[in-house]
């Protein structure tokens, strides 16, 4: 897994790439929680994630709930098909705020 963090007019965008699995999810979790400590609006770009397992999903869940409690905006954007089917396994596609594209996410985060 690799990742990129960028700032778009006050919204932080974290883009993960590759596999978010038992090996890499602790790092993904740390990045997400770090970012949430520094921004009021976080978008997680999952377009280039080829595989995510439930440890990765758990990290997203924890971050989302942290964001909600802290009154921060948190959304997933450009969720790849493989990630979406894993989210659907546990009906989390109905829980997360998901935008089709990064542009949509940025427009709504604004």
């Amino acid at each position: 897994m690799i990742y990129r963090i960028k700032d778009e007019n006050g919204t932080t965008v974290v883009a993960f790439e590759g596999e978010v699995d038992l090996e890499s999810s602790p790092e993904a979790r740390r990045i997400l929680l770090d970012c949430l400590g520094r921004t009021s609006s976080l978008l997680v770009d999952l377009s280039a994630v080829t595989y995510i397992d439930s440890s990765g999903i758990a990290s997203l869940v924890e971050s989302f709930q942290n964001a909600r409690k802290a009154g921060r905006h948190f959304a997933l954007v450009a969720v790849s098909g493989s990630v979406l089917s894993v989210l659907r396994l546990s009906r989390l596609d109905k829980v997360f705020t998901i935008y089709d594209t990064l542009e949509d996410g940025l427009a709504r985060a604004g």
């Binding site: 038992l22 979790r29 439930s54 894993v86 546990s90």
Partner: protein, 276 residues
């Protein structure tokens, strides 16, 4: 699965596997391939050797002769480190698979995570709850196994088997004894896990309806031999009377050999054949 068109990865390869318990030959030259992302269902009468085959596949037992390869390697020939790495990729839900009675459901499920990962405790707890959700046991993590019904224990054991999203999942009678609605939901879950995670799944089952619902291919085991491996269509169309009997749930009309029968009743001969 579009992976099917390319050369599929052989995840399991069994060749001429022979296994004995004491003097009795239980597996009699079993050969079988399972490909990546495939759901292979093993059916056969009680005592035909299904669970025995599964135990050999996960290297809990070693055959008298023949070979087993998982992901290209003989699991019995791995060093400790390699064996651990392989175990991390494999989930097993045994027939009558039990939980440790002294731990809560959640602690039982966390065992593999503690053994194999360095995940944060919060992550582990969420993973446990996610899996309990999908098997319909949301909120049961703090109960002791003794506080669950038989079907619930079975589902919790299944949830534990998939806690790490294994690449290869072995389940022995995952839905036996579950009510039909929950059994169907479990079938559906297997299909969705294969779809979402690309899991390779080997299921032993008595439930023919379930077998036909989930299988890409079915292997019919009979007295330690494979009668046939094929797609569900191939199985339905087979001319084999023995398989048709199994599918129609007809018991074998055994030809009675009076002498042999008498010897069996007198204890002079071992009962060799289990009724289908």
């Amino acid at each position: 699965m579009d992976g099917r068109e390319q050369k599929p990865e052989k995840v399991i390869e069994v060749r001429d596997l022979v296994a004995h318990y004491g003097e009795r030959k239980i597996l009699d030259g079993v050969s079988m391939d399972v490909y990546g992302g495939e759901i292979m269902v093993i059916i056969g009468g009680s005592g035909s050797g299904k669970s025995t085959l599964l135990r050999h596949l996960v290297a809990l037992e070693q055959g008298t002769s023949g070979t087993v390869k998982i992901l290209g390697r003989d699991p019995a020939a791995l060093d400790a480190k390699e064996a651990l790495a392989l175990r991390k990729k494999i989930g097993v839900a045994f027939q009558g698979g039990a939980l440790f009675s002294s731990m809560t459901v959640g602690e039982n499920m966390m065992l593999p995570l503690y053994e194999h990962t360095v995940l944060d405790r919060t992550t582990m707890e969420i993973m446990v709850r996610l899996k309990l959700e999908v098997v319909g046991l949301a909120g049961f993590e703090d109960l002791m196994p003794a506080e669950l019904s038989g079907g619930m224990v079975k589902r919790a054991a299944f949830a534990r088997a998939v806690i790490m999203d294994p690449k290869i999942l072995f389940c022995d009678e995952p839905s036996a004894g579950l009510d039909p609605v929950i059994a169907a939901a479990l079938d559906d879950l297997l299909l969705r896990m294969r779809e979402a995670m690309g899991m390779t799944i080997i299921v032993v089952t008595h439930e023919l309806e379930s077998a036909f619902r989930i299988a890409d291919r079915i292997t019919v085991l009979d007295q330690g031999r494979i009668l046939l491996t094929g797609t569900t269509e191939e199985l339905r169309e087979t001319k084999s009377e023995r398989i048709q009997n199994l599918l129609q749930r007809r018991t074998q009309e055994e030809i009675v050999d009076p002498e042999e029968y008498l010897e069996r009743l007198m204890g002079e001969r071992l009962g060799e054949r289990a009724l289908l």
